[in-house]
Amino acid sequence: MSDNKNKQADLPRVGFYICHCGSNIAGTIDVVEVSKYVSGLPGVAVSREYKYMCSDPGQEMIAQDIKDHKLERLVVAACSPNLHEETFRKAAAKGGLNPFFFQMVNIREHASWVHTDKGAATQKAMDLARAAVARVRHHQSLEKKRVPVDPNVLVVGGGIAGIHAALTLANAGKKVTLVEREATIGGHMALFDKTFPTLDCAACILTPKMSAVKSHPNIKLWTYSEVEKVEGYVGNYKVKVKRKPRYVNEDLCVGCMECIDACVFKEAKFPDKFNQGLGKRKPVYIDFPQATPKVVLLDPQTCIQLKTGKCKKSCAEVCDRKAFDFEQKEKFEEIQVGAIVLATGFKAYDAKRDHQYGYGRYPGVYTALEIERLVNASGPTSGEVVLRDGKKPKAVGIVHCVGSRDAKSNKWCSRVCCMYSLKLAHLIKEHSDAEVYNFYIDMRTPGKGYEEFYDKLLSEGVHFIRGRVSDVTDWAVTPEEEGRLVMRVEDTLAGFVRRIPVDMVVLSTGLEPQHDAQEVRRRFNIGCGSEGFFQERHPKLAPVNTFTDGIYIAGACQAPRDIPDTVAQAGAAAAEALALIDAGFVELEPNTSHVIEDECSGCKSCIPLCPYSAISFEENKKKAIINEVLCKGCGVCAAACPSGSIRQNLFEDDEIFSEIEGVLAK
């Protein structure tokens, strides 16, 4: 003891604090013993234990000790630094100490919670504390840097999520650019007739918001456009947007649609994508009457003028606004924004992948989105439920969980299918005299008014059969089945296999990531989960943040979700973006890496390794350079640099080595 104390003269004065965390730590670790042990270590001027170190009195005690005992370094042994590192850094600052002269020891998650042997756990806590004390001596004084934030925002995707986020931001006075790749905003919601469980008309609640976007002075709406490139960092993104040619001048067209009547194709004969191919359209078209912007466009695959250059161009002739421009080319525009909200939505599962249900083989088999258009008053049949041959179905079978909860395709529950299947069952009943069967695995109706809606359907005479349909075929074994589709299913409540003949089969397809989600993920430098949906920063506590600061996600691009949840999340993403912008600046953690220029050989090994694209190459000097705004302090470059010329704050060699020596010393 006296030996130790003798050496203390030239060592920085360390204060050590160990937390009981109620019984979370003190139940397994003898904190008094640890405190006593650490008090004897070289350089330790104060060592204390306390019931809740993170409490106000705990923090106050630390701040006071720093002043009273002229402490130069601080070590706290408590929970994970993810929880309270910031708390104790603030306590250090309050006592007048640079907050980075501090090291936290996690003896809860790393010791007391994972061990039962009290003696061994106490020993481990001592070892970890000794390592921290050895390390903290080498800590440097560091400062957090601030960078300003551009107040403009980019919203990508014009479905209900993007619309809601854009309007929220614009209403708060921010300038928003909304980029949508289709010709109109509205997304999937624009396809729906009614919404569950209230059965209010989707168009009636959506189109006013679409118009609000179009007319909002703070929103610049770029449809038929895609984000091509994103550069920069939080608060300062430079975005390049590709604007695809519509061959119609958007500023001149008023959407009178006379050109569509005048088109040389007298009959609409090309599959109408908006109506899921159930209807037909001409080469000059508009997706639906309330399309926003209400501007026609030309399909270069079918327009004779665009394909051959030899057409009467009667569409252009009839246009008194002279809006047609067959020479229009795609163009690129660049914008500067501080924050980005990604609301790129989902893709419906391709029903053809489940061969057993005969989609694409039997004309009587439909996807749920096709039925959404069929029951829609503005759809291809004006809301009449008829088969492709024009006949009315006598019986309709709805198959839940197609491409969901299936080990062979997608394992996840798509969350919305039970509810929309109920809605479609109700609407089919309303629009026809058909018997309707729902084939479900489990009925999942968690939401406000959802279970009540299911109850309502039960009383409407819709049949519910619990079982996964094994196949849909035209294999008839009874006269009643002849010429119809036979659904075979094990009725798991009745306990036998049933054959149900129907005329129309509806496949309730699940929600998948967009086909280009991986490309988009890379473009915006965010993550994807294993199933391909965008990865949130924390599943519970940061659901709209991503691992890239200043980029937020909302809606079904993050996971399958329904309209109410999507809107809530879009509002949350907008609020997060506003919080960033209104702060005016971002503070950067100082644990970043930097290149010691004289030692860098310019080998470029570090550049491709950086997950945040923070390292570039200075061609003139032939040296690597790290953008500390982009650097997240992961340490990959510092570990990989062959010449050891990349250093990372808080992870300097002497800090790490003395920590190792500390943990190994006895």
Binding site: D354, H355, Q356, T473, D474, W475
Partner: protein
């Protein structure tokens, strides 16, 4: 193109016509097949459920022998194809099983590495030989003939390596290449009755009857299959089915026989007469 051929018991016994036609067609297409030397039972039959480890060793022995030579192994019998693939997958996935089986094989002087590849003739013909080449060899197209392509369960389940599990199409393509037409029907992979025709006839016969009846209803002149057990169940029990349900009289051919006929090979070379329900009347009309 050089391959090793694993006949299994069926192609040497009741599926003799399959072997004859498979070898004849391979020869005509220039596909070199050499019978695996000293092969033994694939391990199908009930043995898998009696002693699984030993059954893996039994099948593994064939694979170890095959590894000594170059070339993929062609297993025309669906059960052999499935069991050999199951063995390879099982030995790859389960290290303890692998240790036991490779140890047993080592004591017999065999070295199992898991490098062999077991293929089905449908896969080889469509993906290695190619439909274009096959079409060039078709000298007597079976125009006007209508067949029901019936795959059975084992070639696509559980390992759907070369075709779809629910709606396989490779055999349909070969039949089309032979100039004949295929009926569209949903029972391509439905159960033929399997071993139930022998053990629980009241269940097995019904299953075979379903296939035969539907093929006839769809206008097929014959059923075409790649599986010896399916062929046997559908062809061999038609008298009993007639006694119990109705007479169907539907010839059941191997797809290699159909291809061979279209390529101008003789009926005797292809074992056409070996069928219990005679195909002669049907084929006379071509």
């Amino acid at each position: 193109m050089k391959y090793q051929y694993f006949p299994g018991c069926s192609l040497k016994g009741m599926g003799k016509a399959y072997e004859e036609s498979f070898l004849a067609v391979s020869r005509a297409l220039g596909v070199e097949v050499k019978e695996l030397e000293d092969w033994n039972c694939c391990g199908a039959t009930a043995y898998m459920s009696v002693d699984e480890t030993k059954s893996y060793a039994l099948a593994g022995r064939n694979l170890a022998i095959a590894e000594r030579n170059a070339g993929d192994v062609i297993a025309p019998c669906s059960a052999c194809y499935l069991v050999l693939n199951k063995t390879m997958n099982g030995l790859k996935e389960h290290t303890e099983l692998n240790r036991k089986v490779t140890g047993a094989l080592k004591s017999a002087g065999l070295d199992y590495k898991g490098t062999a590849k077991v293929r089905h003739p449908l896969d080889v013909l469509v993906n290695d030989v190619g439909l274009e080449k096959i079409k060039k060899h078709v000298k007597a197209p079976l125009s006007g003939m209508k067949f029901a392509a019936y795959y059975g369960c084992q070639v696509v389940r559980p390992y759907a390596t070369f075709d779809d599990q629910d709606e396989p199409v490779t055999m349909d393509k070969l039949i089309a290449a032979a100039g004949a037409e295929c009926v569209t029907w949903p029972l391509k992979t439905r159960c033929c009755g399997g071993s139930l025709t022998g053990t629980v006839p009241e269940a097995g016969l019904r299953l075979a009857y379903i296939i035969l009846k539907e093929a006839k209803k769809r206008g097929a002149q014959a059923i075409v299959t790649p599986c010896p057990l399916c062929q046997f169940n559908l062809d061999g029990y038609q008298d009993q089915i007639a006694a119990k349900y109705e007479r169907i009289d539907m010839p059941v051919l191997y797809f290699t026989q159909v291809l061979g006929l279209a390529m101008g090979l003789s009926a005797s070379e292809l074992g056409i007469k070996r069928g219990i329900i005679s195909a002669e009347a049907v084929l006379a009309g071509r």
